[in-house]
Amino acid sequence: MPDIDYSFLDDDLLIELSQLELDDYIIELAWSSNGENLAAITVEGKVFLVNKYADIIKYKLIGQHDKGGNSVSWRSDGKEFATVGHDGKIKIWDGISGNEIISLEAGDSWVSKAIYNPHSNWLASAAGRQLRLWDTNREVFYESSDHSSTIADLGWSPDGSGVAVAAYNGVTLHVPHKQKQPRKYSWKGSSLVLAWSPDARYIATGEQDSTVHFWHRASGEDDRMYGFPTKVLELSWNSTGRWLATGGSSSVILWDCSGKGPAGRKPREYLAHSNKLTQVAFQPTGELLASTGKDAVLAIWDPMKHDKIIGRKILSAPASSLRWNKNANLAIGQEDGRVAIFKLKS
């Protein structure tokens, strides 16, 4: 394997804003839409809120899911966020004060995921095989158990009209109010994660059988990409929807989805880490890409310019969550319970 090229490395690219010690494996981080507040959930179910007051970053433990935590998501207006865990509950928190607003019963056992609609106050939750959609009044207005296994991942379509569900046997797209039956994107395999392209042409999935599928949303056909040494749990689209970055190996792989799509095109490969990738994330606005590996290295790329690392930090443990905000701040949740926040030099 060729060596990683550091000739474009700028040691000052990343400026550390903060290092927080939350002392428990970080399952997921999420930024509020204005980029001012950061929520974290840990494996033991602890919920933290990180606020920025005039350049000072403060965090506090605001509550807990008994038995364990699974995911966190902000409402589009940034006023509240939702967390879910092994206790069968969705908890809604005030985004500024951190007060618990309400605790909703959402399943018999684990609630694996709850995500807010990108444009409204709707919330989609998954517990076992069951998908539930909650309205502004926090009432369930749509449910479906039409899935072949426990739901592995969820994603609202970019326009917010529907929710795609990843499970065993592929993807199911639910569009409440518009279609009577959910639409199936069937594949005899276990889809673990999904990501909508921002232009909604594709639903990409990472699979247990070490493949990535690009489902053409409209036609229902898919392109399958083989060659990953491990199952693929890391997917991130760039802001235009042309490129999908994937993990599943020690390199970042970029698939070109312009025109007819990725089939038959050689993907770009970015030699990143000495061990398997754990996270990969494009900036939601902007061109940069961040990746982390089991080697506990954070690497920053400008992938449209060249395939060399431009920024690098050694972390104290591998990253388990990696989130950019719109202000080009990067939050990294780690397996050792630390949260590191960086900004890019201007």
Binding site: Y25, I27, V43, G128, Y168, S190, Q208, D209
Partner: protein
Amino acid sequence: MLDNNKYDRIPVTVLTGFLGSGKTTLLNRILTENHGKRIAVIENEFGEIGVDNDLVIGAEEEIFEMNNGCICCTVRGDLIRILSNLMKRRDKFDHIMIETTGMADPGPVAQTFFMDDELREALNLDGVVTLVDTKHVLLHIDDSDEVKEQIAFADVILLNKIDLVSATELDQLEARIHAMNSAAKIYRTQDAVIEMDKVLNLGGFDLDRALEIDPKFLEPEYPFEWSGLFEFSAGDYYFALQPGPDPAMNINFRLADNASEAGMRETVEKAVLVFSSDEISLKSGSVIEPSEQLSKINLEGEKLKYILRVPNAGSYVLYTEHHPEEFAAIITDAAGNQVKSLFNREFKPDHEHDEDVASVGISTPGDLDPKKFEPWLRDLLAKQGPDIFRMKGVLSFSESSERYVFQGVHMLFDGRKDRPWREGERSNSLIFIGRNLDREQLNKGFSECLI
């Protein structure tokens, strides 16, 4: 040092057995016993009673096919999800127990640890422990594939509830189970009472440990149970027996090169051949001369006596189908003085193979040619993978100074180089546990891979 320990692979024990076999009793015992381990439990959703422990997670069996609907590539999706989550809190426990439902096929559970790269790195399938309700299994062993599979997959089998069956039934059951899975350790228990070190940290999928535990499990089976070497002068000796459990038995009386254990050992293979040839039936009082002839001696009646006629002084070996003690057999000279064997050896008897699930052990010296062995095994697994539940082995490859250890489940195979061979130690031993296995074909195919 601490960091190394932290990232050691965590042992996982899989507990199988039918409803009512005592799984939950054993689980409770394991959780409450003072063994100093912190155990995380993944319980099937139909658990018989609750288990009082902090890290108990319920699982609903979800079987995922991985490729083209091949049964060998099925995994348990629920376990992948739950175990991946447990790996994020690995500092909270030292051992994982997975309790399966009574009807569960252990195959997908075991395969999960081979097929998922994340789990393979972090976890070590320590062993499959199968609980058997002795009374129930006597009724269902013939018609239940699940019972057979749970027995075939096991590293340890607990014959539980032994108070409900007779001693004879128990002996017969144990013999049958042993014939099906001769690599498993079998214990008889009541209320699942067992020492913890017999069910935890078995290294059951670690062949080295398995061989240390029972070095005889790979020994070939013989058509005789006993042999003895005697120093005889020329003349007649008397082989006197009492009636015993069998009406007749085969024996072979033959010359040995010298009066040593090695001298006796050299005659074993020839005796095996003789025992597969046609026998002549003899009545009490008949004369038997040293030869390549198989004699079937009648054991019915009183004062049974056969004459061993020795032409020249020397070393002779007597092979008997059954153990002579069963017939209170003695050998005397013409004067009536008892003559004892200088050496004797007991052999593992050749069981009746009426089971469709059975074990085939191969044990042979020599070096393997990897160019021959790999295609042979690949072909074997492609054709018979669905029928092979477990396999384990230690192999000696030419051009390698290290032992090669492997184990597998159905078509999945995991092998690696192990420690260097010691002086005079090189040999191959492997075992297949499966259905419809052809002992002869497997032996032949394997020996053709030798250099």
